[in-house]
């Protein structure tokens, strides 16, 4: 059965988590532990922490994130297309070119609008 493949993925997941946690557990057992006030401070170039952690992030982050989401979703349509392409006629190519053109138009729009500039 196809789904059984993912039993291995589950086991691998457990292995990986174990692989990550085992040394940490070991560290907790054997490594020295001396708490001190200064040690627990946030490290910001050695000077005392100033102000809130809040940094005024640019809206650019959001714009890149939506571009990413949109193109990521696009790939979800592209993969099935690529797989099925061989069994279908030319119309499949036409449809995909239309689809790609729509999304490239989105990219071109963002470019022309000047939001793809990290200033």
């Amino acid at each position: 059965m196809v789904a059984y493949n993912y039993v291995f993925v589950g086991l691998l997941l457990l292995t990986a988590i174990g692989f990550a946690l085992a040394p940490l557990a070991l560290v907790a057992l054997i490594a020295p532990r001396k708490r001190s006030l200064a040690k627990g401070d946030t490290y910001e170039c050695g000077v005392k922490t100033h102000g809130e952690t809040w940094v005024r992030f640019r809206i650019q982050y959001y714009i890149y994130a939506i571009m990413f989401v949109v193109f990521d979703v696009e790939t979800v349509f592209l993969y099935p297309w690529a797989v099925a392409y061989g069994g279908l006629g030319t119309f499949a190519l036409v449809e995909m070119v239309v689809f790609l053109a729509l999304l490239s138009a989105g990219l071109a729009y963002a470019w022309a609008k000047g939001v793809l500039r990290w200033v």
Binding site: I59, Y62, A65, I66, V69, V70, D72, V73, V76, F77
Partner: protein, 109 residues
Amino acid sequence: MANDIPLSWFLYFAAAAFATGLVGVLLRRNAIAVLMAIEIMLNAANVNLVAFWRYGTPAPGAGPLPGVILALLVITVAAAEVAVGIGLILLCYRRWRAVDVDRYETMSG
């Protein structure tokens, strides 16, 4: 193995998740939290769709996987909705410095 998990278990899971999401939508006041609750609801519907696809007998002419196609479209729509929703939330945040759904009351009536 998986052959014998009853269909209704999946439906129960979806129903519970859906109810949770709906409660979240009704009770949370932060717009981003509401957005997350909506995502839960959409996912619950997806679980339903895929479970019905796998367990059900398709009516003639329904195609090999209508449920999965619908679920894929829902995922697409959900992604677009989050993108748009965060955009609108940021827009409001810039105006009010808050993302509290109840706090925007410029209009009366």
